[in-house]
């Protein structure tokens, strides 16, 4: 379904309003499905977008219960600003980066980032490093692979990582550097090939969340946090292409 995403929940269900980074899109759908059947059911009302945008909105009092960012710094800064208790910041996953090319591309994606050095690849899409954690990670990874100088002039920037994925998926960019979670999504999986970028070649994408101070139903929000960091949640996140915090 649309961004709202949550399956219809029985009346009286607890509702949690979630602001989630774009790379969580598919994983959270499944989380929501599971939670909706839990007892008592929890209904997730999820909005996806760029972590930076959510930070702005929450700083100005946006009525969310839980913020799942693509990094740890935004949640931490929210806590520092008094928008959440410092204890309520939690890490829930580690983002993984892939090089993604559409089907039919002549690029040998198995060579990873070095394949991008070839000008024949054309435009390379990444998230905007200025405010998207995945963009920053992609730039760092390309630098450590020593290809950044040769790719820089061909970079195109998506507003968030999902948009970067779309640039390549629509065939307008020759390749993209995106979140594994997106590359694994059913809608993208059969439209292209991907190769993971080795984790050590870029600063760890520790993804953090936070239960916000103004939450209407703290119990429900905490249940979401518990679920994500618990056994069932971590299994789902793992399946959708995340490493687990501390792994």
């Amino acid at each position: 379904g649309c961004g709202g995403g949550a399956p219809a929940a029985p009346a009286g269900a607890q509702v949690v309003r979630v602001a989630a980074a774009a790379d969580l899109k598919f994983a959270l759908e499944e989380v929501a499905a599971v939670l909706a059947k839990a007892d008592p059911p929890v209904r997730l009302q999820t909005t996806y977008g760029s972590s930076g945008t959510f930070f702005q909105q929450i700083s100005n009092g946006a009525p969310f219960d839980v913020f799942l960012s693509a990094d740890l710094s935004y949640p931490t800064r929210l806590a520092e600003a008094g928008r959440a208790a410092p204890d309520d910041v939690f890490a829930y996953a580690v983002g993984r980066l892939v090089v993604w090319v559409p089907n039919g591309s002549p690029v040998d994606v198995s060579k990873g980032l070095t394949a991008l050095a070839d000008p024949a690849v054309g435009k390379v899409a990444i998230a905007n490093p200025e405010h998207a954690p995945y963009g920053r990670a992609a730039v760092a990874a390309m630098r450590s692979a020593g290809v950044y100088d040769r790719v820089e002039s061909r970079l195109v920037l998506g507003e968030n990582v999902a948009q970067a994925a779309e640039f390549a998926a629509s065939g307008n960019a020759g390749a993209s550097v995106i979140a594994l979670s997106l590359a694994l999504a059913p809608q993208l999986a059969d439209r292209g090939r991907h190769e993971e970028v080795p984790l050590p070649s870029f600063p760890r994408l520790d993804q953090g969340g936070v239960v916000l101070a103004g939450t209407a139903d703290r119990a429900a929000a905490v249940r979401l946090r518990e679920f994500l960091t618990g056994e069932q949640g971590t299994a789902i996140l793992k399946r959708y292409g995340f490493y687990l915090p501390g792994a």
Binding site: C2, G3, T47, N60, F64
Partner: protein, 224 residues
């Protein structure tokens, strides 16, 4: 398909239009018909919301409405709720960002009026307000319709401001434009296409009706 979002959009666009038009008419009349030189400058000022990127406009509105600003705090103390991320907040932002769409066509229409008719009205003892209501406005129906259409349509399509100020809350601030964007972001092209199509059909109906209404007495090419 997100019917709720469509509902929010229609409500938002309708209310924005209803609020803006009565506001825009006197403003446009002053801008168009005033003899003061400053009118030119003010006309440009009114057009400014057009130039600011909607997200930036949204950001500034957000800041102004937020709890950090005096206005936001005052609102919160008075009503007990924040203005941002509510339908009312969205309405405020929409009114602001659609202002030029309501004012500009009216300015053009008023500026094109036959001055003899304004003079005739003055001779017959009417004030400017009376003349505006009884002569200028009825003779500017095409401009009024354009203003209404542009305001309504622009609000329905508005994205950046709503994104920043609305916070994408279903039933309150998730408009259809946001909903479609979300579908696209989720690679759910089918839903995006379906929602877009529904909106297009609806808009087409509204616009066609509006345009038909104003068509009565219009100037046409001489036959054939």
């Amino acid at each position: 398909m997100d019917w709720q979002a469509i509902g929010v959009s229609v409500r938002l666009a309708g209310l924005t239009t209803l609020i803006l038009l009565p506001l825009a008419v006197p403003v446009a009349a002053w801008l168009a018909l005033s003899r003061r030189r400053i009118a030119v400058l003010l006309e440009a000022v009114v057009a400014l919301p057009l130039v600011l990127p909607p997200t930036v406009l949204g950001f500034y509105v957000l800041t102004a409405l937020g709890t950090a600003s005096p206005l936001g705090r005052w609102w919160q103390q008075t009503t007990g709720a924040t203005l941002a991320f509510t339908f009312s907040g969205l309405l405020v932002a929409s009114v602001l960002s659609s202002l030029p769409f309501a004012v500009q066509p009216l300015v053009a229409a008023f500026a094109g009026l036959d001055r003899r008719l304004l003079e005739a009205s003055a001779v017959l003892g009417r004030t400017r307000a009376g003349t505006l209501l009884r002569v200028a406005l009825p003779l500017s129906k095409a401009g009024l319709a354009t203003a209404a259409v542009l305001t309504f349509a622009h609000t329905v399509g508005e994205f950046g401001v709503v994104l920043m100020v609305g916070g994408n809350i279903p039933g309150a601030t998730r408009t259809v434009s946001i909903a479609i964007y979300d579908s696209v972001q989720a690679f759910d092209y089918a839903t995006a296409a379906r929602t877009s199509a529904a909106m297009l059909v609806f808009s087409l109906l509204v616009l066609t009706t509006l345009y038909s209404l104003r068509r009565g007495r219009r100037t046409r090419w001489p036959r054939p």
